[in-house]
């Protein structure tokens, strides 16, 4: 039992995969995922995933970048070491705009990329999935449903049966 990490089922094409995903969802499984070479439109609904939280992460970083920039510029040029430059005010905000903008964008970008890695718990180089040769095709032209053995509804034969009924062309267990 414990030697099995999950069961893997392959489907013909994105359409089939989508239907299978709906079946699995209706069956009430929670610890499962579908694997495809490219994102499939509507799959999120098919799997009943909640919308990504990433937006909030990015917004947080944007705020950080903006306030950080404003603080750095005003502090450095009007508190830490005020210098009369061309007779301009120490805190010369019109001149600060470009840098504030750039830093805001930079931090947001960090938020977007590293936030995404975080949510996808990447990098993760040792994933039991990789024990399966078959799933490698998920990055080529394979369309798979994977249900983890730790799912409460998981049953070696019943689950396989469900997947077969959903139109799986191939079913194999993945060892842990």
């Amino acid at each position: 039992m414990s030697s099995t990490y999950a069961v893997l089922a392959e489907f013909k094409n994105p359409g089939e995969l989508m239907k299978a995903a709906e079946t699995v969802r209706k069956a009430g499984y929670t610890k499962w995922d579908v694997h495809s070479p490219f994102p499939i439109h509507g799959m999120d609904d098919a799997m009943g995933l909640k919308p990504s939280k990433l937006g909030w992460l990015v917004f947080g970083h944007a705020v950080l970048g903006f306030t950080g920039a404003v603080t750095l510029l005003t502090w450095a040029s009007s508190i830490a070491y005020p210098i009369n430059i061309s007779g301009k005010p120490f805190a010369n905000f019109p001149a600060f705009v470009p840098i504030i903008f750039e830093l805001t964008v930079l931090l947001s970008a960090f938020g977007a990329v590293f936030g995404m890695f975080f949510l996808n718990n990447m990098p993760r180089h040792h994933n039991p999935l990789f024990n399966s040769e078959t799933i490698r095709r998920a990055t080529d032209d394979g369309f798979f449903v994977v249900i983890e053995s730790t799912d409460t509804l998981y049953h070696e034969t019943k689950t396989a049966e469900l997947l077969r009924s959903a139109g799986a062309t191939l079913i194999e267990p993945i060892s842990a």
Binding site: I83, I85, S86, G87, P89
Partner: protein, 993 residues
Amino acid sequence: MSTTPNTYWRSLNELARNDEYRQLVEREFPENASELTDGYSRRNFLQIMGASIALAGFTACRKPMQKIVPYTRMPENVVHGNPLHYATAMPFMGSVTGLVVTTHEGRPTKVEGNELHPDSLGGTHILHQASTLDLYDPDRSRGIRQGDEARTADDFAAFCASTFTRDKRVAFLSEASSSQTLNRLKRQIAGRFAASTWVTYEPFGEENVLLGTAMAFGAKRRPIHHYDKAAVIASFGDDFLAAGPDSVRAAKQLAKSRKVMSTEDGMNRLYVVESNYTLTGTNADHRIRVKESEIAQALFALAAALGADGFGGHTNAFTGNGDIARLAADLRGANGAALVTAGADQPPAVHAAVAAVNAALSAVGATVTYAALPFADAADQNAAFRALTADLAAGRYDALVMLGTNPVFTATGDVDFKAALSAVPAVVHLASHIDETSAALPSNGWHVPRAHYLEMWGDGLSFTGAASVIQPMIQPLFGAWSEIEVLSTILTGSRTGGHDLVKQTWTGSDWNRILHDGLQAGTSFPAATVRLTGAAAIRAAAEALPTVSGLEVAFKADPKLIDGRTANNGWLQELPDTITKITWDNVALMSPTTAAGYGVEFPRASILRAPADEEPMVAVNVNGKTLELAIWVVPGHADNAITVYTGYGRTHAGRVGNGIGVDVNPARTSSSPLFASATATRIRRTYPIASTQDHHSMEGRPLIREASLSGYREKPDFAAKMVKVPGPIDEAGQPISLFDEQTFPDHEPQWGMTIDLNACTGCGVCTIACQAENNIPVIGKKEVKRGREMHWIRVDRYFSGDVNGNPQVVHQPIPCMNCELAPCEQVCPVAATTHSDDGLNQMTYNRCIGTRYCANNCPFKVRRFNFFNYPKTWLIEGNDPEVVQMAMNPDVTVRFRGVMEKCTYCVQRLNRAKIETKRATGDSRKPADGTVKTACQQACPSDAIYFGDISDTESVVTRTKRNERNYLLLEELNIRPRTSYLAKLRNPNDATA
């Protein structure tokens, strides 16, 4: 110290020239030749000075041994970091000018004019300012030599004792000198030898003037002009503003009556009759351009028109000439307040005629007085020199003593002095360098290193007769001798120190007082009473003068190098010529029309065309010689005439001066050294010329604002009104800006500058003074040609009017304007250039990373960038850089490669003054008005630069800024320059207009 002497600062890349030069050095300076006579071997001499760029530590061994008296009330003992100021005087062409020398720890670093001295009144000219660099010239001769052998001082004394015995026939050749001590010894010599002759040889001296006055009055008299007393001045080829024995006094007096501060003020009127455009010509209200050979004729026509003695009924090509007629009328109209002068290089007859004309104008005693010179030789020294050369060649002398002078180089082509030398059994040449003459000495000839005036005791008379003592600032660097030391050794057979010799002359005088003040108070030449006796002789001489019908070549002394004596001075070589802006070369100057004849188009550059990389050349055939020179077009030059400058093409000047330009002396003849008939043909070769200003026109932009005196009286604020500043004006009267400007604290002085374009003559002394004060490197011809000149204050020159006819020239000194809203500051990414509380636009060298953005964004292009490590080549790598390092001002950083630099109103002087004021008053940081001067302001002979605290409403500078002539350059950019200009005025004769 690098073993291979680098190419100095002539060029950064011509390292190939090194070997050649090293051989030269080895031949000329054998190892032991560089032993110093004061007991320090060269090696520990260097140890003492330290091998680094550190500029201190030299005092210990260089302080003069005799007691000299500081100019200021400072304590005698040196406070490190505080410079001392001593009065002394610089001899030049037979006259001395009183100076005050700044010394740092025993190193003279800067000269200023002596305000107590009547011929300086605090002003200086370019040769004064550049003289400190000559002192520290590493190419100076390092010791006594006989042939190629090094000799000691004792050897020389022994030689003198054995050679100069009473039975000998001895000839002496000296530069013009008014030194009382020298003349005392000279008198002793007279009866000392079996036969002796003394010839004063000064290639561009005043001998012609003296001969002229001798012709007129029966005795040599020096005319002394009082320009300040003259309402109308007419100069016939007399460039009296160019650096010369009397130029500082002339500039002061001329400027005095040109500082028009209100519509009531009057202004003198200057006519200049000349061929080439000279500095004086650019300041003329009327310039009459005639060929060099015609100047005399124009003068004689004037003399006739004015009914001067001896010219009754005289007629020539200029008789009835409109300009001359109007000039005559104007001079006569000035009734007594008129003055006519002629260039010292004009023939004697001209000067005689000038004497007659001045007499006719009853100017004598008013605008011109005559002085009898105690030291003048009665005989015609030009003739005497020719005779001496012949006698020497004929072996009529056993010995020749040359005190200075470089006749082998400077003599005219028909005088073969070199050949004459070889016929003399014993020759002694006192010279600062192994120059052409020393190099041409016979194998047993003696070369004695000549002392610089800053390292010797001496004395002399100023042009107007003020008596001064020359006191040394430093021990002779290379065991050099002064003229009087050599003379006395020849007389006595043993060396007597200059100090004792001079002291003997001045026994009974208030020695300390004289040293302190720099002159003997109240001394001057008494005005000699003169009677015009030679009318007939003048007429005869005048009508005998040759004229040239076709193309003629005029040979003029270079305004910077004179006869070549200063050719090894990098500051002077790199100082742009006042008219052509050429550096490091001499050229064939001619008018656009003449140049067109050789297929050269004018202008050389315009907004639509960049200048060619190299200049076309002509071969000028004159007196059987051929001069190949680059053609340079000078608008306003007389047509069908070419002007060339002497002093170039030297072969033994040193690493700076060797091979610069073309030597024109061979083409001159002693009979007519000034001009000669010539033919010229364009040749295929081209030649690169490094000029710092390619464009001759202001492109109709209101940069230099000018009006006639009458125009100014009608509309006094014409200058300010010339430009409409767009947009509304704030309550401070400034154009509004988008942001609230920073304000300046009240406890700080607010520095500002005003430059009076009407007083400025354009002589360029400000540039050299700035260079000396601020350790500005000399970068060489190649770099200047690339437009990388480093001068912090430059003098812009523009031509206006008909460039093919008789255009006018205006000069505009451009330092950093220290804009309050400086465009350069905001663009620097690292805040290396910022604004100080006292309103300076300051450079932080050690913060600068060299993006050059500030220079790009400077509307005046006054910022200078160290594209290479310029100081390295002459402060670190030279074959003994320590010597040059001594010339540096320790108060100013020497800038490194990749750093931007610029004028900061001599911030080191300002801060010193602020600190001293604070120490004195306890709180105030505002020095009293006039107590702090910038280097350019202090050097200016015409006081054209005003500087001070503009927060003080009564300071001189503030009052000038309130003047109606005041205007801001590029005011419309709302950058608020702290430097403003007073518009230029001319005073044309409406009758001529």
